[in-house]
C-alpha cells in the first residue's frame, strides 16, 4: 500500500506542471464549493436569527378571528390561557413571547407607507435587542405608550426623525376606520426584507388601534432550546390544543399574511388557531436559499465534469507514456489489480492534495470576507435579512466537500486505470509511444 502511494507521489512529482495544473483546478473547485457552502450556511443562519426574532418564533401559535365570514383578522383571543397550556405541553421551551399583528398605513407629513405592525412588550422581549441595532433613539422608549420603532429606510421615505409624530391608520376588526398618533421613539438599522414591511409599537397601542381586548394578541412565539425539536413540538401542540377544545386550521406551510385569501374564502366565523413554524413564516424568502443551493450544485457539477475530463485525459496520457513500463511490471509479475490500484492511487493522491489546498484557500477567503465586514447591496440585503455579508463555516460541510471531490476524481480515474490493467504484457512491452 505504502509502495503504491510512493509510486503515486513519484509520478506526480515527475510530471510537476501537469500535476500543478490539475491539482490547482481541483483546489479551485473545492475552494469555490467551500465558499458557496459558507455563503449558503451564512445566509441561512442570518435569516434564521433575524426572522425568528423579528417576525416569527421557532414555533408559533397564531390564528385568525372572523367577526363575519368576510372579515378576518390575525388575532388570538384569550392568549394567557393558551400560554399556560403551551408551557405545560412544551418542556423543550426556552422562552415565550406574544406579539400583536396588523397591517396599517403609516402616514407622516410628507409621505405614507403600508407596513406590517408588530405589537411588542419590549421589556419582555429578550431576543429583539440582539437583532435590532438602534441608530437613533432608544429601544426602551418603546415601553412608553403610543410610540413606534421604524427602520432607517422607512424613516427616510417618511422623512421623520426621533420625536416626530406619525399616524397609524387601519380599520378595526369590525371594519370601522381608526387612527392612532404615535411618536417615533427609535430608528433601527435595516434588517433586509423584515425592515421593509415592519414597524413595532407597544402592544397596548396596537390594541387601541384595533379596539382589541386586553387578553388578545396576534401570535404566541415559542422559542425552543433546540431548533431541531420544532417538528415534534409542532405536532404535539396540534394534538394538545385540539384536545383542549381549540379549533385548529389545517396545516398550511406559508406565512400568515399569505393565508388571508384562503381564510376569507371560507365561511366560518369565530376563532381558529394556526400552528406554524419559522420555516413556514419565511417560506416566501427561503426560495433564495434553494436557488443559491441549486446554483451551487449546477456550478459545481459543471466544474466537476471539467475536472473529471481533465483527470481522465491526464491518466490517458500517463498510461500512454508508461505503457512499456506497465508491460514490464506485468511481465515481472505485477497483478492486474495492482496496476489498477497504482493509477487509482495516483488520482486519489492528486485529489486529496488538491482538495486540501482548496479547502484551506476557501476557508482563508471565508475568514477574510467575514473580517472585512462587507456591506451587501440593498437587493441582496432584502433577501439575506442583513446589511452585512456573513459566511458561516461548517467543518462538516468543508470535509464533505473535500471527500466528495476526491471521491469523484478517484472514481473517474477507474476507467483509464482499468484499461491500463487490461493490457497484455507482450503488447504493452512492444508499444512504441
Amino acid at each position: 500500500m505504502l509502495q503504491l502511494f510512493l509510486i503515486a507521489f513519484r509520478n506526480l512529482g515527475t510530471h510537476r506542471r501537469r500535476t500543478l495544473l490539475l491539482g490547482g483546478a481541483i483546489a479551485g473547485v473545492t475552494a469555490l464549493l467551500v465558499l458557496l457552502n459558507g455563503l449558503s450556511n451564512g445566509m441561512q443562519a442570518t435569516m434564521l436569527r433575524s426572522a425568528t426574532t423579528l417576525s416569527t418564533g421557532h414555533v408559533n401559535v397564531a390564528g385568525f378571528y372572523k367577526v363575519t365570514a368576510g372579515q378576518s383578522a390575525p388575532v388570538v383571543t384569550g392568549y394567557p390561557k393558551i400560554i399556560e397550556q403551551v408551557r405545560k405541553d412544551v418542556p423543550e421551551l426556552d422562552y415565550i413571547v406574544h406579539r400583536g399583528r396588523g397591517w396599517v398605513k403609516l402616514v407622516s407629513e410628507t409621505g405614507s407607507v403600508q407596513v406590517g405592525l408588530g405589537g411588542i412588550d419590549v421589556q419582555s422581549e429578550p431576543g429583539i435587542r440582539q437583532v435590532l441595532q438602534v441608530k437613533e433613539g432608544s429601544l426602551d422608549a418603546l415601553a412608553e405608550p403610543d410610540t413606534v420603532l421604524v427602520f432607517e429606510k422607512q424613516a427616510k421615505r417618511l422623512d421623520v426623525k426621533v420625536g416626530d409624530t406619525v399616524t397609524l391608520s387601519a380599520p378595526t376588526l369590525r371594519g370601522t376606520s381608526n387612527t392612532v398618533d404615535v411618536r417615533v421613539a427609535a430608528i433601527a438599522a435595516n434588517v433586509g426584507l423584515m425592515s421593509d414591511f415592519n414597524v413595532f409599537v407597544p402592544s397596548q397601542t396596537l390594541r387601541s388601534l384595533y379596539q382589541l381586548n386586553k387578553d388578545t394578541t396576534g401570535a404566541i412565539y415559542l422559542y425552543l432550546k433546540d431548533v431541531k425539536q420544532v417538528p415534534a413540538v409542532q405536532a404535539r401542540l396540534r394534538q394538545t390544543l385540539a384536545a383542549a377544545g381549540y379549533e385548529l386550521m389545517d396545516n398550511d406551510p406559508r406565512a400568515f399574511w399569505m393565508k388571508f385569501e384562503v381564510v376569507n374564502r371560507e365561511g366560518w366565523t369565530g376563532q381558529k388557531l394556526d400552528i406554524t413554524n419559522w420555516e413556514d413564516e419565511i417560506s416566501f424568502i427561503t426560495w433564495t436559499l434553494t436557488a443559491l443551493n441549486g446554483l451551487t450544485g449546477v456550478l459545481i457539477f459543471v466544474l466537476l465534469v471539467i475536472i473529471c475530463v481533465g483527470i481522465m485525459n491526464t491518466l490517458w496520457i500517463a498510461i500512454r507514456e508508461r505503457t512499456r513500463e506497465i508491460g514490464t511490471l506485468r511481465a515481472i509479475g505485477m497483478q492486474r489489480t495492482r496496476v489498477l490500484a497504482m493509477f487509482v492511487f495516483e488520482a486519489l493522491t492528486l485529489g486529496a492534495l488538491g482538495t486540501l489546498a482548496g479547502a484551506v484557500l476557501g476557508l482563508a477567503v471565508c475568514l477574510s470576507l467575514n473580517s472585512a465586514n462587507i456591506s451587501v447591496p440593498d437587493v441582496v440585503a432584502v433577501f439575506i435579512m442583513s446589511e452585512k455579508l456573513h459566511l458561516a463555516i461548517n467543518p462538516g460541510s468543508v470535509v464533505g466537500a473535500m471527500v466528495f471531490i476526491t471521491a469523484c476524481t478517484t472514481a473517474i480515474s477507474l476507467i483509464p486505470s482499468f484499461l491500463a490493467a487490461r493490457m497484455k504484457p507482450v503488447t504493452a512491452m512492444h508499444h512504441i509511444g
Binding site: T68, Q71, G111, R174, G175, T176, S177, T179, R265
Partner: protein, 260 residues
Amino acid sequence: MSLKSVMSAAVLAVALLSAPAALALAPAEMVKLLATIDDRQRNGGDYKALVYLEQKEKDKTDTVREAFVYRRDADDKLMILFSRPKTEAGKGYLRLDKNLWSYDPNVGKWERRTERERIAGTDSRRADFDESRLAEEYDPSFEGEGKLGKYTANMLTLKAKQGVDVAYPVIKLWVDKDTTNVLKREEYALSGRKMRTLLYPRWKKLFSESKGADVWYPEEIRIYDEVEKANSTVILIKSIDLRSLEANLFTKAWLESKSR
C-alpha cells in the same frame, strides 16, 4: 331711554334669543330629514349607472377607471363591473348577503373582501355606490345652520347606532336647506380624526317608473383623503338607467361571463 327704545330692545333680544331655537331641528325632524335624504336616492327597483372614477395619488400617475354600477335595492344587491382601462376590464365587486366579493379575471378567482374597504384602491368605498342608509345606521344631532358657498345648509352630526358596523362612526353632514340635497360630508375615525371629506356639487333627478317618483343622484362626488392630503378621487355618475335588470344579473356566473 324711551319706552319705545326699551320695547325695541326687548323685541330684538327676544328675537335673537329665540332665533336658534326656531332654526334648530328637533330629533324627530332630523331623523325625518335623514329618511328623506335616503328615500330621495332610493329607487325601489333596479338601478344601473355608468361611473367614472378618477384617482389622484401622491407620486403616482393619475388613473381613470370606467365602471358600471348595478343595484337592486329591494334585495340589497350591488355589483360594480369595471370596463376600462383594458387592464381593469372584467374586474368587479359583487355584494351578496352582506358579503362583498371581488373578482379578478386575470387569476379567475373570487375573494371575499371587507365591506368597508376601498374600491379598486381609490378613496371610494362600497357605500359611496350603494343606496343611502343614513337613517338606519346613524343617530343625528343638530349643529346649527351655516353657509356653504351660496347655499344655506343644516349641519348635522351623525353618530353610528349601537351595534351597527360602519366604516366611519361619526359623520358631519351639510344638508341644503332648500333642496334637502347633501352638499358636504365629513367622515371621522373612532379616534376622532377626520378621514375623508366628500363634496357633492351637482345633484340631478330622474323619474322612476318603479318608484313612481323622482330619484335623486349626485352627478359628481369629490372625495378628499384627509389622512394623506395629496390623495383624492372624483366620481362622476353618468347615464342612469332605472329599468329592470336581468333576473340573474347579481350572480358570480354573470360577472364572470362579462370578463370572458
